[in-house]
């Protein structure tokens, strides 16, 4: 990279880091100062291939290989004319043939093969397809549309995230300020000793902190697993703290179903209810499901409300 240099004055990038190489339509390089010197009049011939050039056509060389610069220049020009889209063709094969034709033209123009004839073909094509070219000028290809869409979405997402964090921060700041103001007010008006008030304030501040922490943890679950299962529950890794109080005593729920008594779950099989229920597959059973469960529920459903009041 450092050994790149101007072929005329032999300056290299290594010796002059601010060296700017320029390239024109013929694909030969010159440094900026040489261009200024040789093309004072605005036009002249290329030092290497004698092609007549205009000064205004000199571009900064983007790539290491000036031939690429030239090719890209030509390609952009050609693509302006050959701007048919995939939809303009009836089959993929035709479209591919068309693409290859475009590629051929670019190839010929870059490598100086049959330049005259190729140019003729291009002009011919331009004349023939004036309407389509006009029409397609503004249209993007389907792929580009997709890309644009993705980019837009990305932008929106990041914007939204930024706003959210900003709002969150502001809210926190506000609550903190409010808390401080409340302390000052209390110190002013309350009859309690200051130490107590300060302690209270400290407590409140700690609570606030933990609240904020908690809010941070509650990231909104906006996504689902690939299997389509919502990722509803946020999982916390901390062990569950032990609660010290009287143990809860379970009292079975008593529901009046207004209907005939439903047989117990474990009796279903014996009474023959399960004979016509499809049996559970091993997959279902791995999760603890039995066919009795569904049957029991169905019977409950069916029996409830059979006695009208």
């Amino acid at each position: 990279m450092d050994d790149q240099g101007c072929p005329r004055c032999k300056t290299t990038k290594y010796r002059n880091p601010s060296l700017k190489l320029m390239v024109n339509v013929c694909g030969h390089t010159l440094c900026e100062s040489c261009v200024e010197m040789l093309f004072v009049r605005g036009s002249g011939n290329c030092v290497q291939c004698n092609t007549p050039l205009r000064k205004s056509n000199f571009r900064v060389q983007l790539f290491e290989d000036p031939a690429i610069d030239k090719e890209v220049e030509i390609r952009k020009k050609v693509l302006k004319i050959y701007n048919k889209r995939e939809l303009d063709f009836s089959t993929l094969k035709e479209y591919n043939d068309y693409l290859e034709q475009v590629e051929d033209i670019v190839f010929n123009l870059t490598n100086n093969i049959d330049v005259e004839r190729t140019k003729q073909i291009m002009e011919q094509y331009q004349r023939d397809n004036k309407d389509i070219i006009q029409k397609n000028k503004a249209k993007l290809t389907r792929e580009q549309e997709e890309l644009e869409e993705l980019l837009l979405q990305e932008q929106q997402d990041s914007e939204q995230k930024r706003l959210e964090t900003l709002q969150e921060e502001q809210r926190q700041l506000q609550t903190k300020r409010k808390n401080k103001q409340a302390l000052l007010d209390e110190l002013e008006s309350s009859r309690l000793p200051a130490a107590v008030l300060l302690a209270q304030h400290k407590d409140r501040a700690v609570q606030l902190e933990t609240q904020i922490e908690k809010q941070k943890q509650n990231v909104k679950p906006a996504n689902i697993f690939s299997t389509g299962i919502m990722m509803g529950q946020t999982v916390s890794f901390a062990s569950v703290s032990r609660v010290e109080e009287v143990l809860y005593v379970y009292q079975p729920l008593c529901i009046d179903a207004y209907g005939p008594p439903v047989p117990e779950l474990d009796q279903l099989g014996r009474l023959g209810y399960l004979n016509h229920v499809c049996t559970a597959s091993p997959q279902d059973q791995a999760g603890g499901y039995t066919s009795g469960l569904a049957c029991h529920r169905a019977i409950q459903d069916a029996f409830s409300g059979l006695f009208t009041l």
Binding site: M1, N96, L150, N223, A286
Partner: protein, 760 residues
Amino acid sequence: MKLNIDGLLVYFPYEYIYPEQYSYMLELKRTLDAKGHGVLEMPSGTGKTICLLSLIVAYQKAYPLEVTKLVYCSRTVPEIEKVVEELRKLMDYYAKQTEAKNDFLALALSSRKNLCIHPEVSALRFGKEVDGKCHSLTASYIRAQHRSNPSQPVCQFYEEFDAVGRQVPIPPGIYNLNDLKDFGRRKGWCPYFLARYAILHANIVVYSYHYLLDPKIADLVSKELAKKSVVVFDEAHNIDNVCIDSMSVNITRRTLDRCQTNVETLQNTISRIKETDAAKLQEEYRRLVEGLKEANVARETDMYLSNPVLPDDILQEAVPGSIRTAEHFVGFMKRFLEYLKARLRIHHVVQESTPQFLKDIYEKVCIDRKPLRFCAERLRSLLRTLEIADITDFSAITLISHFATLVSTYSKGFTIIIEPFEDRTPTIANPVLHFSCMDPSIAIKPVFGRFQSVIITSGTLSPLDIYPRILDFRPVTVASFTMTLARTCLCPLIVGRGNDQVAMTSKFETREDFAVIRNYGNLLLEMSAIVPDGIVAFFTSYIYMENIVASWYEQGILENIQRNKLIFIETQDAAETSMALEKYQEACENGRGAILLSVARGKVSEGIDFVHHYGRAVIMFGVPYVYTQSRILKARLEYLRDQFQIRENDFLTFDAMRHAAQCVGRAIRGKTDYGLMIFADKRYARADKRGKLPRWIQEHLTDGSLNLTIDETVQLGKQFLRQMAQPFRQEDQLGLSLLTLEQLQSEDMLQKIAQIAQQA
């Protein structure tokens, strides 16, 4: 012994069984019954491998239609060999018990480097060279040339295999890599291709993760494995990183330069062939026009290059017209290459998404997305047509084409980061383009989709719920098993302070602190005085280790330590490290005692076991967080947060703790083994860190051992070591942590076993 696991007759090749093994098999059986995926954690040294093998083999024998194949994936070649040895034991036991002729075929598969028996090729040192040389002897066009011109060298082993090897199936039995080689030598067949062919009808295949996870290899090797296979990933605690690595590409300036020469070679070859044999290019062109896949050339030897994207994502279309002819394609590659070069010429860091990259590339050099997607496919076809024998040189252009295909195929889950220099040396220009995958679920998704049961297992998978989340799958069983012990043979201690009450931590702010370094030194010194034989110490990084050791040297601590034990150091050089390891073991062996200073995430922490006296104590200096300033990591954390709702801190802690657990787990490799586990950082005492250690370590971490000073540690350690040094016979274990068949079948033991598996 013969076991009855949930109605399945399992032959277990040992006289005794651990209760947790029984429980593990129960859980495994349920997973197989349900045809779902499972995540199982069981401490290392409790015989996971034999459990997996004996249960799945029994299952295969009992329900040959339900499970046709076991694919056992492990990490390294020694581990693969270990699995095969266990399997051999199991099969011998089967043969002895049933006295039926064994009809099981099990084999290990590895790279050409480990399997080649060609005298010249196998002498080469690097895997890539072996692959390239093999290709240059076995490619279909080379063999075609050989037919017309017998002086063209070919590999006689492959020729022999191709001629007869396919018709004659390999006799049933257990083959490790050496057995395959021996068999190959005897028959004169190429063992590598024999193994690749034989895995299609083998009952058990043992190979490395990459053969299943890396799409570049999986497409060649594992394409035709049946759906009714059970896939086991052993030692899978790092599986997410393997997935990510298999889809990521790093491009440096050197890659591009080498690619440039590749392109030039291609161009020259094309123009030469055009003059001599234009028909060949014509033929390829015709095929591409008609969109024909290379159906006629499904020859295994030519399939050297393969598509880097997942099979479902390969476009099944004809190659687009713009890169159909060879010249156009070379021009296309040139433009792409120059574009990349221009991108690497920046002076500041750039991070962008794939759509941004694609848009920019269209604007700068008019390259569409579609031809990019076909880049890898097209290059493969071209290299085949040009009949380039030595593929090794073309690794650079292959890499670039993989990058092109990947970047244009995936719009989500990937990021592009261009760094003009390394963070440590901002004055030296060394531009790198990282195309990094951030979502491990992308690479592993086809595996979960394709096979009916995938088992992920390791000694350290805690917290268990994070793996299903980052790999994005629904397991039917998630379980962690603890070690039942007749005596508490592990003693985890968290040292938080030095004797001077200065907190010990590798936190960034205090890691350079004189007092912290001195306290770490004192800890090691004190331990070296009381621990017999070997001590392994882990640091958080190489740089940190160097700093500390230098400072210890200045303070004279090293000298004091060397009075008690010899000191060995792990370095980044693999040969040096293995030398140090060897000497370390020698010093432990002859009673001199030694200390090995090594690095978490290094080679020692991952693959080397310190059984018995090789590791009586492990000291973990600091919490082994990853380098959090790395941009790739930051991007990945952000992605995890947005996509999977995993907070940065949770993931970082999870990652640090799994490595810490890996390190300290090196010392305990069985129930007769014992060792101290010293966590030297006060942050380990916090609930969020401690809670992420595996359950089998957490269980023994009492409140009394959470925030110790150095002399307290010494007291506890002394007591523990003295206790453990008492004779310990097998009879002491029987009935508690080691069961005979009768004991296993007793009622209260079964009840106890039911409690071992804790569903997470």
